[in-house]
Amino acid sequence: MIRQSWWKILAVVILVYTILAGMLIPLKPGIAEVTPRALQAGTEVELTVTGYNSYYAKAKNDLRAWLKLKGDLVLKAARIEVLNDRTMKLHFILPQYLPSDSKDDACSLILDSPIDGAIVLPEGIALTQDSVNLLEGKKLWSVDKMDQLNAGPKLTFPYRSVLYESIRNQYFHVPLWFAMIFLFMFSVNFSVRYLRKYDPDADQRTLALNRAGFVFGLLGTVTGAIWAKYTWGAFWSWDVKQNMTAVALLIYSAYFILRGAFQDEEKKARLSAVYNIFAFAALIPLLFVIPRMTDSLHPGNGGNPAFGGEDLDNTMRMVFYPAGIGWTLLGFWVASVAYRVEKLQQRLLDA
């Protein structure tokens, strides 16, 4: 019993790890809000910074902050006033001129603390000056230096201002697709086997794998819609990947309808095997080729990096790859139960 179902135990262990690690590892500290966002050169300004997952009060005396322009020119905060762990006020004395040849520029805000590490708010703050003086500006902005930044907590997930905690959906929404693809791949494999040997068992396996794959695909679409609502603003954004998966689900619904159209078992098995292979071939451009060639909100499309760069750091990989394996194994478990039901029904019909 244990020896046969070791992979089911593995699935449970991996999924428990996925849920625990995916939910318990905190997000990296980030900057939730900065006001005001527009500053005037030559004035003394007070920036109110609201942090996320931050510990300003704990690191009260070792906090540092800079405004950073292009070319590593920085201005250090003159005074930092910590209100609590989540809020502080930064005082900057802005020089008269900017190291820029236009009246407007944008700078980023960098915070550094021994507990939270270095945090960057990129290009978030607008600067304006009344008159341009490039040389003087460069001189004024090169007084301060930014050095010895702290590394911050190691075991964290990236902080993204649109995603926030929902970045954890990477371990629950995305692997559903992996599971679906693998289930459909195996079902095609059994369809081919059916057409070679006309073995009814292969047909039952195909049906069970397709059922499980369809359920996972449906769940992937629904969870994706929920996630999209709170990051892109609508349940259905007519994103190319969303459309293509909807089409994929329609294709597999057609597979189930086709099965219902035949009375004769052999005919049903043969024709649905043929359609299954055809449908999977049509699925490949749908899921992999067309989305990559068109603009999409999903990462990995239209020039966005796929699961690389900043969207998936090492800590996330540590959870994401096992999650993919775990959900796929769960998919095969569900499929194997469906298969055994199908098998039993067949045996009853034959008897």
């Binding site: 057409l195 293509m244 089409v247 329609l250 294709i251 619904s253 057609a254 309808i257 086709l258 159209a261 035949f262 005919k267 043969r270 024709l271 095997a273 043929v274 359609y275 292979i277 055809f278 449908a279 071939a281 049509a282 490949i284 451009p285 749908l286 080729v289 067309i290 060639m293």
Partner: protein, 221 residues
């Protein structure tokens, strides 16, 4: 009888049957004309939108194709199937049907274009690109519908099943075609036109290859 001779004879048979049953093809022509007229009355009075033109063109084409192809296996009743079975190569049957349907649909698409141009007005500026889209589109439609018609002809409720099985499969082809045709109307300056053509050619080839591999399994009954 070798493979190509078989294809030639089957093609001739299709053509003769088509001409003899004149009502089928004239029915489709009437369908195209009346739909274009309805589309004009419903959408285009005082409206000049190439996007709408292209979309409606392909939707008319889609339904005309389904209507044209659904009959291609209906007439093949059980007795005639049995006769073919003893006489012919299954590949010759499907290849001849595919070639015949591609030319029929290409002819039909040219006709729809002419009807649209006559009644609604011609919105196409780059003729070669649009002709290429027409050809790739009719090839994709006919390969897909021919194969699915072969599947659904084995079931009783034929035409409904054809629509259910083939419409989801046709959506990617249709979307790429509409994109390509919009570029051909000169509304969009698109540099990725080669990519779209590549996608269409790839889809057509994959579908054609699979049809050739899988048809022998549908054939035996």
């Amino acid at each position: 009888m070798n493979f190509f001779a078989q294809i030639g004879i089957l093609l001739r048979k299709e053509l003769v049957l088509e001409l003899r049953m004149g009502y089928a093809i004239s029915g489709i022509l009437l369908y195209v004309l009346s739909t274009v007229f309805i589309v004009y009355a419903a959408f285009f009075q005082g409206v000049n939108s190439p996007m709408l033109w292209v979309t409606l063109f392909w939707i008319i084409m889609l339904f005309a194709s389904v209507n044209a192809i659904v009959k291609s296996f209906v007439q093949e009743n059980g007795a005639r199937q049995l006769y073919y079975y003893g006489l012919l190569d299954p590949l010759a049957v499907i290849v001849s049907k595919m070639i015949y349907n591609i030319s029929l649909l290409f002819f039909l698409s040219l006709l729809t274009w002419a009807a649209m141009a006559f009644i609604v007005g011609n919105k196409v500026e780059e003729f070669s690109a649009f002709l290429l889209a027409l050809f790739l589109g009719s090839a994709g439609f006919s390969i897909l519908f021919t194969f699915v018609a072969a599947i659904s002809s084995k079931a009783d409720n034929n035409s409904t099943l054809l629509a259910i099985l083939s419409f989801p499969l046709v959506i990617p082809i249709l979307m790429t075609l509409i994109k390509l045709s919009v570029v051909a109307t000169g509304m969009l300056e698109d540099t990725g036109i080669g990519k779209d053509i590549g996608i269409l050619v790839a889809i057509d080839l994959v579908l054609a290859g699979l049809t050739l591999v899988l048809y022998p399994f549908l054939w035996r009954d």
